[in-house]
Amino acid sequence: MPDLGHLLSEQIRTACNEHQPLVIQGNNSKAFYGNPCEGQTLDVSGHHGIISHEPSELVLTARAGTRLSDVKQTLAERGQMLGFEPPSFGDATLGGTIACNLSGPRRPYAGAARDFVLGCRIINGKGEILQFGGKVMKNVAGYDLARLMSGSMGTLGVLLDISLKVLPIQQQAISLQFELDVKQALQQFANWRQQPLPISAACHDGETLTVRLTGSSVALSSAQQTLGGEALAEGTDFWQQVREHEHDFFQDQRSLWRLSLPATASIDLNDKQFIDWGGAQRWVFSDALVSELRAIAETVGGHAILFRSTQDNDDRFHPLDKAMLAVQQRLKKSFDPERILNRGKMYRQL
């Protein structure tokens, strides 16, 4: 596969000179995510391919346009996986996944996408190709601009290549279920959290708590004895449905909110919530006012993202206070002085 880095950098340089906004696009699987933004499409899906995978180093380097499914398959062939269990939402690319910092059910126990980023090669808004971080586990040379890319929605730079720490696939998994209400479920999560249990996912759909244990078979049977509950036969399918929003809960036509909260937070909602991440991530379908959901999240110290909207609002992400917004605007300017990369995708001012 050809390296399109220089071609893309030329396009960005030209756009910078002409003050032409660009909309970065991989496989367009997350077109729903973030504020609508306008500009010329910068297609990065052609910049794809796995550059290297060193199982003994626990490192994979791939181009941003590489399909997540290809990454997962390459890793699985050598008994490894992406620790943050990202959703594919159809046909996601690695670049889009990192740019959105999307992580699946394993996130509280293994880390988020950003935690696994070791390094990346990017193009900033001036068309300069820059490399930060590396392919090693420990690296404190220079500011951590590689991790900063994660979750920046393409507004600071176009991702070219990404190096990730990967993990061995754990030998066995079992999922257990418990009939509990929301309050009991949150308490159960909190109790388990304080114990050294091999938990790798924990969610609650309103009536049923489901917990996944992973590890060696001896470890699992001992943990199962401690926890109790009913074993779920189709555990793998269940967690895939949760991850990909294919679970029954997600069959709803209203706007979908993602509330990121302290795990024990108790919130007062009229709408049903799907609790994931042991309490730290709540999915809510709601027609409530944007300000209402934001206030609910803010009261408990979290933030609310309008994940899938039925309308064209440009306030998908939780607003920043004035001082913080000013810092983030200056940071944006340091990477992309002409504001050509995904202008407004995160915040109108960025």
Binding site: G134, V140, P196, A263
Partner: protein
């Protein structure tokens, strides 16, 4: 902009600081002239020892008004000169902000002031069966504010991550004197990931005044195994094979023969002194999981040619196994008048290549080297032995050290795994990064600190600078904080 002299600055700061919170006489400034990298010494204009966030804000605002540089300092245990003062600057000691503010057991969070010692956090939550995972070797003395500024590592990084993976929220004072809260008590926050950016930013972007760290439940069991090898390359291969087999050890350390001998002579850990290399492999988790993995690792080490494998049968024996490794730096300090510690990280598979090259360089520079190695995460600490009293030997050592860092870059690694750039490795930054990348770093710095007042001159070299060179210089065994373990 108003200019100000030392006397006027003292009077401005005295308006809101108690007399014992402001040091300006030479004898009082002397203890602050260096951090753990004692080869670099400079007296600050004055030292401020604030007690709370209000005082820090007032100091920073005053400095900003008169464009006085501010250099933050925790316990001063850093090994790269990150807290080296400036003659024209205020050294801001955060040592008095040493309280644990809140422990939230149910959310596994502890909120602490920056001057709290790393180990004090784990001690405070040990009764609840919890701990704070990152464990830099100086954890008995180093403070959490400094850990965040340096993104400190430790023995358990491979499994539990660095500081950046284990913090939830920071409060910082910007150079304008504004309090910013970065992150929250959830698992992510709105906007750019400034938590990642600030961690490891070496005091260049803001003053860290409060930290919320993530806690973990203590593992049910931790066990350690020691394996001896007649060949360094075999040991290196065994490390890769353990990881390729799907095992993530809590700690995986390697020492070469000179390091083994030095450690054994010093603390009598019972190490096999004829081995070319030893590996220490610690596994933790549930008891069932650990015993399963111990067996797998044992079989693997045996099949990879280990000449001897020992398993610690109890906690006392486990401590004994670790004792030699933890004492490796001071042990090496006993066998040579001086040593110079490097901190490169490399892909593990390049270990034999890097070691072979280090051996060749050692012969051509006529300077012996002992290698200790966080093998699990590829972080190499070659210790070059020399005698600064021999004319020209320090210069030769520095040149040799530079070659080792260049080897690390050539192997696809980095010049610093966990000690930071500070003053020490600022020149090697020019080798690791291209001009445009360094310019991007400067642009980021400018976004936080447009007048360049926070810890100026550290971490990121200017483009025309690449001439000076630094070293961790241990003269006659006189390392700062000799009581601390260094590994």
């Amino acid at each position: 902009m108003q200019t100000i002299d030392k006397q006027l600055l003292i009077s401005k700061l005295s308006a809101f600081l108690d007399s014992d919170a402001l040091l300006y006489k030479e004898e009082d400034l002397r203890p602050y002239e260096c951090d753990g990298l004692s080869a670099y010494r400079r007296l600050p204009m004055l030292v401020a020892l604030p007690r709370n966030i209000d005082e820090i804000t007032a100091i920073v605002k005053t400095c900003y008004q008169y464009r006085i540089p501010v250099i933050a300092r925790g316990a001063g245990t850093g090994l790269s000169g990150g807290a080296l003062p400036l003659e024209t600057g205020v050294l801001l000691s955060l040592a008095r902000l040493n309280r644990i503010l809140d422990i939230d057991h149910e959310n596994l969070l502890a909120t602490v002031q920056p001057g709290v010692r790393n180990l004090a956090i784990s001690e405070a939550v040990a009764d609840s069966g919890l701990y704070y995972a990152p464990d830099p070797s100086s954890q008995i003395a180093c403070t959490i504010g400094g850990n965040v500024a340096e993104n400190s590592g430790g023995v358990h990084c491979l499994k539990y991550g660095l500081t950046v993976h284990n913090i939830a929220q920071l409060k910082i004072i910007t150079i304008e004197g504004e309090l910013l809260t970065i992150g929250n008590h959830a698992l992510d926050s709105a906007g750019y990931d400034l938590l990642a950016l600030l961690t490891g930013s070496e005091g260049m972007l803001g003053i860290i005044v409060e930290i919320t760290v993530r806690l973990l439940p203590l593992p049910e069991t931790a066990r350690v195994m020691l394996a001896a090898f007649d060949d360094v390359e075999l040991a290196g291969t065994a490390v890769s094979d353990i990881i390729a087999d799907g095992i993530i050890p809590a700690g995986l350390e390697m020492m070469d023969n000179p390091a083994i001998r030095a450690a054994e002579d010093f603390v009598h850990a019972g190490y096999p002194v004829d081995a070319a290399a030893i590996l220490l492999c610690e596994l933790d988790g549930t008891t069932a999981e650990v015993s399963d993995q111990m067996q797998r690792v044992h079989e693997l080490l045996a099949s990879r040619g280990a000449s001897e494998i020992r398993t610690a049968e109890n906690d006392a024996q486990r401590q004994q196994f670790w004792k030699g490794r933890k004492a490796a730096f001071p042990a090496v300090g006993r066998i040579a008048p001086d040593y110079y510690c490097m901190d490169g990280t490399i892909p593990r598979k390049k270990l034999p290549w890097v070691l072979k090259n280090i051996t060749e360089l050692s012969a051509s520079y006529k300077l012996p080297v002992a290698n200790v190695f966080h093998a699990g995460d590829g972080n190499l600490h070659p210790l070059i032995l020399y005698d600064a009293n021999k004319p020209g030997e320090l210069e030769r050592t520095e040149e040799f050290g530079g070659k080792i860092l260049e080897l690390c870059i050539e192997a696809g690694g980095t010049i610093t795994g966990e000690h930071g750039v500070g003053m020490e490795k600022i020149d090697q930054m020019c080798i690791q990064f291209e001009d445009a990348e360094l310019q991007q770093f400067h642009a980021v710095k400018h976004a936080f600190d447009q007048h360049g007042l926070l810890n100026p001159g550290k971490a990121v070299p200017t483009l025309h600078r690449c001439a000076e060179f630094g070293a961790m210089h241990v003269h006659q065994g006189q390392l700062s904080h000799p009581e601390l373990e260094r590994f």
